[in-house]
């Protein structure tokens, strides 16, 4: 259980850090920030890659998890980049 206490600590600290980091975002960047954060949530890919593939069902689940997380990662980063490139000063 000790490991959970430690990781729980990391969790709380990261949420606090996130709240502090982005408490003041100009409204121009609301969409890119959301889209960029969305791409980061594709980190589930790292979790999906270590799933077991013992049975056919488990293999299918792991494959789908990797597939959808990858779509999230690639799609998310590229859309964010496209969007950010449109924003420019005069």
């Amino acid at each position: 259980m000790e490991i959970y206490a430690l990781l729980g600590f990391v969790l709380i600290l990261s949420i606090y850090l996130g709240l502090e980091l982005i408490s003041k975002v100009p409204s121009t960047l609301h969409t890119p920030l959301m889209s960029g954060a969305n791409a980061i949530s594709g980190i589930a890919l790292v979790g999906a890659l270590v799933l077991s593939t013992d049975s056919n069902l488990q293999s299918a689940i792991a494959f789908l998890a990797v597939l959808f997380a990858s779509i999230n990662v690639f799609g998310g980063y590229l859309v964010t980049n496209r969007m950010l490139k449109m924003f420019k000063k005069k």
Partner: protein
């Protein structure tokens, strides 16, 4: 043996490096000058985290195949999508992230959890991931206008009931190991009811409240990833997931504040029940104006403020709006854009549309910047916005939208309202702005009206 231990140590160090890069990346994403670099940094963090994970991969054919296929599908969608469909694209990608965590938790359940805490995490991750998935799909349907279901319809009511039922079933599932054995496979039921519950969570929420829902679902997908990290004892998942959860939460709060409503009210009540208190059925003389007269007033104006709303997005008028702005500037008029945070269907919707039309972002101003100087504005041009410029919010304590921060265009010398008809906005509240003495209504499709003004300027 020792080689494996070394690899694990290296892996953990890389995960820490990736976490730091994610933190810097998301920080830079919050500032205009560094946003592109920030996004690149976070993509690089993702790359090294995935790369170092692949070392331990059990089944390379299946998993690398999954990455490759996902990369092709994701990139194709991202590069082909029109910028105007960005809101629904973000919703869709977000849903896929949720689905991935849902599947991770499912797989972990099949590998039989070692202890009760792990079991609890599996249940919660399945629920958040599943609700994020189907909820985002519904948001996608609503934003792309493929899905039209009324809040009062029986379908909505059935799914809303299933949503509340799914919460109860989640609690039951969490407590299940402590209860006597059951005669049915409760886990399959949980998977199904979670997915159906996600539909019921988003279905009753109206289009105008979508900015809040999208931000919240974004937050959920992060929290689900962080829980999956706890489940798999993976620190980079926890850090990255928490950052996303926090940023989504901040956006949700900003959006709710911009509407002066509680998150609870937006998700579970809606405007319908609040608007009963409204007594303002005030009517009066509406002064319409035609394009030619509007042109004459604009031509002699020295400062113009443009306030876009969802109507501009629907009419796809952003390009002609930019053209009008440029012509006005050539004519010596100072042009600014007043952007309300909840105008449109997602956080920053108007900013994206105007950026797509090449409007530089330094002429985009927030309500707090333009309201103090409103009386020096000669003409305020409201394009398809309604509730965000409704003076009831400041003048009429009984109004359902009273207290909501607005762009106070009624203080400008002249107001043009471009609108298709006299119908009320999303909140269902009559807008006294239309009846003010300094207001002129320019009825018709926003794109045609602005296009008309543009050709008057060119002649």
């Amino acid at each position: 043996m020792s080689i494996f231990e070394d690899i694990t140590a290296i892996q953990n160090i890389i995960y820490i490096v990736a976490s730091i890069l994610f933190i810097s990346g998301i920080k830079m994403l919050g500032k205009e000058d560094t946003a592109v670099k920030g996004n690149f940094l976070s993509a690089f963090a993702m790359f090294i985290a995935v790369l170092v994970t692949i070392v331990f991969i059990v089944d390379p054919v299946i998993l690398l195949g999954g990455i490759l296929l996902g990369a092709i599908i994701g990139s194709t969608i991202a590069l082909k999508v029109k910028m105007t469909s960005i809101p629904e694209m973000v919703a869709l990608f977000n849903g896929f992230g949720g689905l991935a965590t849902f599947l991770i938790a499912w797989s972990e359940y099949n590998s039989i959890p070692d202890n009760y805490f792990q079991y609890l995490l599996v249940m919660v991750t399945i629920y958040i991931g599943g609700v994020t998935f189907t909820g985002s799909l519904i948001a996608y349907g609503k934003l792309s206008e493929k899905l039209k279901v009324a809040k009062t319809s029986i379908v909505t009511k059935i799914f809303t009931t299933i949503f509340y039922g799914s919460i109860l079933f989640l609690i039951f599932s969490i407590l299940q190991p402590l209860l006597p054995a059951l005669g049915f496979n409760f886990f399959t039921v949980l998977l199904a009811i979670t997915l159906l519950g996600g539909i019921g969570f988003v279905l009753p929420i109206g289009g105008g409240d979508m900015p809040v829902v999208i931000s919240l679902l974004n937050s959920f997908s992060g929290i689900a990833a962080a829980f999956a990290g706890l489940l798999l004892l993976n620190n980079v998942l926890i850090v990255a997931g928490s950052l996303v959860g926090a940023s989504g939460l901040i956006l949700t709060v900003i959006m709710a504040k911009a509407m002066n409503r509680s998150i609870n009210n937006i998700l579970f009540v809606g405007y319908a029940s609040a608007s009963k208190a409204s007594s303002s059925e005030e009517q009066g003389e509406v002064s319409p104006i035609n394009v030619a007269d509007a042109f004459l007033i604009l031509e002699s104006a020295s400062s113009v403020l443009i306030i876009p709303g969802y109507g501009m997005a629907v009419a796809q008028a952003q390009h002609v709006v930019r053209e009008l702005g440029e012509l006005l500037e050539e004519n010596g008029t100072e042009v600014k854009y007043g952007i309300h945070p909840v105008a449109g269907r997602m956080p920053g919707h108007m900013n994206v549309l105007l950026a797509e039309a090449n409007v530089p972002y330094d002429v985009l101003a927030e309500p707090d910047d333009v309201n103090p100087i409103m009386d020096s504005v000669d003409v305020a041009v409201v394009i398809g916005a309604n509730d965000v410029v409704n003076p009831s919010a400041t003048e009429e304590p009984g109004s359902p939208i009273y207290g909501m921060p607005i762009v106070e265009v009624h203080n400008a010398k002249t107001v043009f309202v471009l609108k298709r008809s006299m119908s009320s906005g999303f909140a269902g509240v009559q807008n006294p702005l239309f009846f003010k003495q300094n207001t002129r209504m320019l009825f018709g499709d926003a794109k045609e009206s602005i296009g008309g003004l543009v050709s008057e300027f060119k002649d």
